[in-house]
């Protein structure tokens, strides 16, 4: 399977190693990876936040904050793009996002992000896990944690889905000690999960018989040797079966022609519409990857191209969630592994920059229509409201009603949901 994540301009390989793609099929996905599946009664009984959901838009490679959320028009670092007013008086964003600007009253800009990590792999890790990468421990990504805390027991679909621009399907190993049950199922290129169609040469009744036989054998085996591993194995098969029955959920062509037009008939537009469809089917966590923003060369032309693709579908998604009454239940996050240098290099490019950049949030319990934090005139330093990855991770969880300071029981050991050394940004939680 090809890696679903697009390659970086700076030829970094760390991000690929860090992802440690698990190459299994849907059914086999749970059979490898870490084995800390939560099976204990107490953990399983933990309260799910009713219908709360999270959608992360991961702008891969490092979105330029200056060409998006924190423009610096007329400054030496500002580049050619102008700032435009938004639906919130006093808040301006880049002219490359005219549609998103009209949805700003639903959104919250975090303009004081400082993560001090300019490496793709390490930056992606800390933004997705809320912790710095360390050889001593591996931590679950926000999708796995959200899936663990928000997935209703009766959900027939996976609780953690990643829509990538290309590549195959399969399952990632991004859930660390939470176990494979909460790892992301990848929809490569927005396609349904791998092997989710019953082969033509296996009739329905034969397949039903095969599953019945499997269950009988499993039960026999489990009656003597029930472990976390066997639970994961059984769960994986049953989830794959349910997923095959709900395959239409992944088919955006089932949406109205009008909606397909509104989202745009390009890959990212389809992926945003698919995200809406999955949300409405109850999936609690979806990550939509858009690529590639690693613009060391001709930053402005490439941001015109990439944000030109991003803007309208994303804004349509936000507006739809609001109109359909889903926004109060859904946290939206737009992030990257870092921002880009305020300095414009020789090739009209911007390089990696993590000391002063921006993340966008919206929906759920996040305050609407605000810009939190500031950078200086040239965008080189945070001057007010500085936050880091740990604080953001806490804030995401609090925004969907999960107490981020709690610990959960993993194989008899209390594991904090988020970095205990960090705190939520309460100022942006309503």
């Amino acid at each position: 399977m090809k890696p679903p994540i697009a390659k970086y301009a700076c030829r970094s390989t760390e991000h690929l190693q860090a992802r440690r793609q698990f190459l299994g099929s849907v059914a086999g996905g749970a059979m490898a990876g870490t084995l800390g599946l939560i099976t204990r009664g107490a953990a399983a009984e933990q309260t799910k936040q009713k219908d709360m959901r999270v959608v992360v838009f991961n702008l891969h490679g490092g979105l330029s904050q200056i060409e998006s959320w924190d423009p610096k028009p007329g400054r030496s670092t500002g580049g050619p793009c102008r700032a435009i007013p938004t639906s919130v008086p006093g808040i301006h964003i880049s002219e490359l996002l005219p549609y998103t600007a009209q949805q700003m009253h639903h959104l919250c800009l975090m303009r004081g992000v400082n993560t001090s990590e300019d490496d793709h792999g390490k930056g992606a890790y800390l933004m997705m896990t809320g912790r710095r990468q360390s050889p001593a421990a591996d931590y679950p990504q926000i999708g796995a944690v959200a899936s663990r805390m928000l997935t209703p027991q009766q959900l027939e679909l996976p609780g953690h889905i990643m829509i990538t621009p290309s590549g195959g399907g399969g399952r990632n190993s991004d859930s660390a000690y939470l176990g494979p049950k909460y790892a992301s199922v990848v929809l490569g290129g927005g396609s349904p999960p791998n092997y989710s169609v019953r082969p033509d040469n296996i009739p329905e009744d034969v397949e039903a018989h095969r599953h019945e036989l499997r269950r009988q054998i499993n039960e026999q085996f489990l009656s003597k040797r029930r472990t976390a591993i066997t639970e994961a194995y059984t769960h994986s098969y049953e989830q794959a079966l349910r997923l095959m029955q709900r395959r239409d959920t992944f088919d955006v062509s089932k949406e109205s022609e009008k909606d397909q037009e509104r989202y745009g008939k390009n890959d990212f537009g389809r992926h945003c519409l698919l995200a809406r469809r999955l949300l409405e089917s109850g999936v609690p966590f979806i990550q939509v990857v858009h690529s590639n923003y690693d613009t060391h060369n001709e930053n402005f032309g490439f941001h015109l191209e990439q944000l030109g693709e991003f803007d309208q579908p994303f804004a349509t998604f936000v507006a739809d969630l609001s109109e359909r009454g889903l926004l109060d239940q859904t946290l939206i996050v737009v992030l990257s592994e870092f921002g880009r240098t305020p300095n414009i290099n020789l090739y009209y490019g911007r390089d990696h920059w993590s000391r002063a950049w921006s993340v966008l949030m919206g929906g759920a319990k996040v305050k609407r229509g605000i810009a939190y934090g500031k950078t200086n005139e040239d965008g080189t330093e945070v001057t007010e409201g500085q936050v880091d990855h740990g604080a953001l991770f806490h804030t995401y969880l609090q925004a969907v009603g999960v107490d981020s300071t709690q610990s959960i029981d993993v194989n008899g050991r209390d594991m904090p949901l988020a970095d205990p050394a960090a705190k939520p940004v309460w100022d942006v939680i309503a």
Partner: protein
């Protein structure tokens, strides 16, 4: 100066004028009196050619960078086109030029401007995928040509006055019949376009156009071999077409330059094609003839270059640079 004999092998930088911010575009006026540059601070700078150490007259009216500059053939008017979508008329006979007309020319970036041979009109093109022609005297839009499917990077009038050539991001070259406002024919400059599937970006395009003096040969410049577009790994390329037939005659390359793009190209008086390349390998003036794909000479410039123009005398090339310098290269031997 005109007594000198052009010899590209003797090319050398003879003048450096420094502004305070990185430069973008540059043009000589047709009378040879001024050079005009644009900068990352949104301003234009007019440099007096006769001065030994000129202090530029700074011209400010745009709200963004200016990549497109063109003088009317009589040199009295400069048209600038910005990333703010504005076309601005400047009177160049004034000691301190001020805007005499500002027009919202395009939605988004204006990429290039070219004058008609009679000087009465000019064309502009941009990221809105259109080409517009304008009446110089009145500022009226004469036509809006739509037919490109992606950003239009370059535009040029043919000396016959009946045709207009345009080139876009995808390497499409269209020849427009000015009378009917329709595409008369197209040429394929697809080697100038790259789609890099891993990075999911379209890149390259027709960054510049040039015609030889009698309009029989068309050059389209840009880049190829973009193995890493986002990381500035791509090589300069200039395609040479027979204008009448549209047949590709030569693919002019610059071996060893693994980070470069031909930002601008011009035919010199003797038919030599000159191009300026800037990129991660540095700045270069490149020279090609009709006999070979490979360059016949090159001059490495002190800094990455972003645009060039040829002076009225045909013996000097001006280049604008990231290090804020406007440089003049002499194409003749030092005395």
């Amino acid at each position: 100066m005109t007594l000198e004999t052009m010899d590209i092998t003797k090319a050398r930088v003879v003048t450096e004028w420094k502004y305070t911010r990185p430069l973008l575009a540059c043009r000589f006026d047709p009378n040879g009196k001024f050079a005009v540059t644009s900068s990352e601070d949104f301003t234009l700078q007019r440099w007096e050619m006769a001065a030994e150490k000129p202090s530029p007259v700074v011209m400010k009216a745009h709200d963004s960078w200016v990549h497109a500059l063109a003088f009317s053939p009589d040199g009295t008017t400069l048209i600038s086109g910005g990333c703010d979508g504005k076309l601005i008329w400047w009177s160049m006979i004034d000691a301190e030029p001020k805007p005499i007309r500002i027009v919202e020319g395009h939605r988004g970036w204006i990429r290039n401007i070219a004058f008609s041979p009679d000087g009465k009109s000019f064309a502009s093109c941009g990221n809105d995928r259109t080409i517009a022609t304008w009446d110089l005297a009145e500022g009226k839009e004469l036509s809006r040509l739509a037919g490109h499917e992606r950003d239009v990077y370059s535009v040029l009038f043919h000396p016959n006055g009946r045709e207009l050539i345009s080139g876009d991001l995808m390497g499409k070259l269209h020849v427009w019949d000015i009378g009917t406002r329709a595409i008369a024919r197209s040429m394929d400059a697809a080697p100038l376009h790259t789609y890099e599937a891993g990075q999911r970006v379209d890149f390259g395009g027709v960054r510049c156009l040039a015609l030889n003096q009698d309009g029989t040969v068309l050059a389209a410049g840009g880049l190829h071999k973009a193995s890493n577009p986002l990381g500035a790994v791509h090589e300069p390329l200039c395609l040479r077409f027979d204008y009448a037939s549209g047949q590709l005659q030569k693919s002019h390359v610059a071996e060893g330059i693994t980070g470069g793009v031909v930002w601008s190209c011009r035919f010199l008086q003797d038919g030599t094609l000159a191009g300026v390349s800037g990129g991660s390998t540095g700045g270069f003036l490149l020279f090609w003839n009709s006999e070979s794909d490979k360059n016949i000479h090159r001059l490495q410039l002190p800094n990455i270059a972003r645009d060039m123009d040829v002076h009225l005398d045909g013996l000097r090339i001006g280049t604008s640079h990231h290090d804020s310098q406007f440089r003049i290269t002499a194409l003749f031997a030092a005395v």
